[in-house]
Amino acid sequence: MSEWLEATFTNNRPRALAALTRYFRDIDVAEEAFSEACLKALTEWQDKGAPRDPLAWLLTAARNAGLDRVRKRQRRQTLLKTNFAVPEMPQENLPDPDEVRDDVLRLLFICCHPALPRQDQIALALRIVGGLSVAEIARAFLIGPKAMEQRLTRAKKKIATNPVPFETPSLHERSKRLAEVSLMVYLMFNEGWSTSNSVTQMKLTLCEEAIRLARLLADLFSGMGEQMALLSLLLFQHARRDARQDSSGRLVALEDQDRSLWDASAISEALALLQKSERLGHSGPYRIQAAIAAEHALAKTADATNWRSIEAHYAALFAMQPTPVVRLNLIAAMAKTRGPVHALQQMTPLADELAGYRWYHTMRGGLLEQSGDFDAAITALKIALTLGPTEPERVAINEKISLCKKNIAML
């Protein structure tokens, strides 16, 4: 039974912990209080059945548990002649939905402390909001549990030095927090999506947690096109999870993937969200990336892909984010619409800026191979090999080099 209830606890954790953190003004007390409430629920729900509103039940139990703790601490501190205010018990069981929304946003924003490296922000969000164990997070980041424990402790100390105010944020502050938190969720997904070696399965946890958080944001800020688009984008990508690696762990390029392995239900949900965000007139980077993902998801075969539309989307994205990497993606689409020679010419001006970017060289190698310049292709691919490819990528690059060599031998 407890395994079933765990899911309910985890599902309610972000909202509960956020409300408790505002109430107690202390994340640690909030976490302890929530754990105690879950323990209590384990016995009570099994005897009397689960309540219709688990969040309200857990909040009440956690507040009582937390207050006990605070009172005990207060008694100790009275002896030491210091003051510690006991928060007043609110009348209603459930906080106002607007308040919960700001609470959850605040809690996530606390994890995004600017003094923390991005990976630590992600780890902290997984621990505090997602409720993952230290061991689970350590596995996802491919480091030992001891090291992860230390990193989390250090990160928590750092966020304590610069508290986020508990007042209701201004409109400007709220949208700033939302943008920062959304970016963290986006990067959490990417961290999980980037394969590092055969342990991909563990990293998929990051993708699943990122989707859960994106879902939470889309639910809480239900009129916001940007959060809808973010969830849509992540669902489109994640829908391909079973097709992107073969049984031996080798990466399968998008065009070679078995499309019947794509998750049709995730794709239709993503599509519904994309259409909704378009209806709201929203057009930001997440929406454009989701629109690109939609083109791939809806093409029955790789050959049926609408590259003209994808090229137009990348051009729009480049107008918003004029970075060399977006430019490179635009050129990759051009390679499909206008051929490899045109694309190679377009790539030349990026050579310096992207000299250390692995994908620049693998893409160049691929285009050179397509245009029949096998020697130059091998040179480009060998550069890519020196830039720290992941294991599946290394295998794919080496295969392409052998293919070029075979072609040279046949000439």
């Binding site: 765990e6 899911a7 599902n11 219709r52 949900e269």
Partner: protein
């Protein structure tokens, strides 16, 4: 008589279950679908999360278009997750089939329904 087996539960909980428990729930659905298929036609519908939905509110005044709003807004409480519809001999039989998908994370409501037209034919 036609009955609907409506599934209610907290949105998001199924997705949070461990792989084992997910499989357990899905095995129940597979068994029900197999059993229903053996005895005739049936319908099974899974509702997407409320974040994908929009609501058409009645027009504010005569002559105006209906108001389209996002949502319904997400509830943390119990939500309508999906339903089955099929012909059953009686309530007892409908209950016997519904039992196959009973789990600690869902509440099932068995209610007679009337067919009001339309045909759905889809694969997968």
């Amino acid at each position: 008589m036609m009955y609907a087996i409506a599934i209610y539960g907290e949105p998001g909980v199924f997705e949070t279950l461990s792989e084992d428990k997910k499989k357990e729930v899905l095995a129940g659905h597979a068994a029900l679908q197999e059993a229903l298929a053996e005895r005739g036609e049936f319908l099974s519908i899974k509702l997407m999360p409320t974040s994908t939905a929009v609501t058409l509110e009645p027009p504010a005044a005569t002559g105006q278009a209906p108001l389209i709003v996002d949502g319904p807004f997400a509830e943390t409480k119990e939500g309508f997750l999906g339903f089955y519809a099929a012909e059953f001999a009686d309530l007892k039989e409908a209950l016997r089939f519904a039992e196959m998908i009973s789990s600690p994370i869902a509440r099932l409501e068995i209610r007679p329904i009337a067919w009001a037209g339309g045909v759905i034919s889809t694969e997968g």
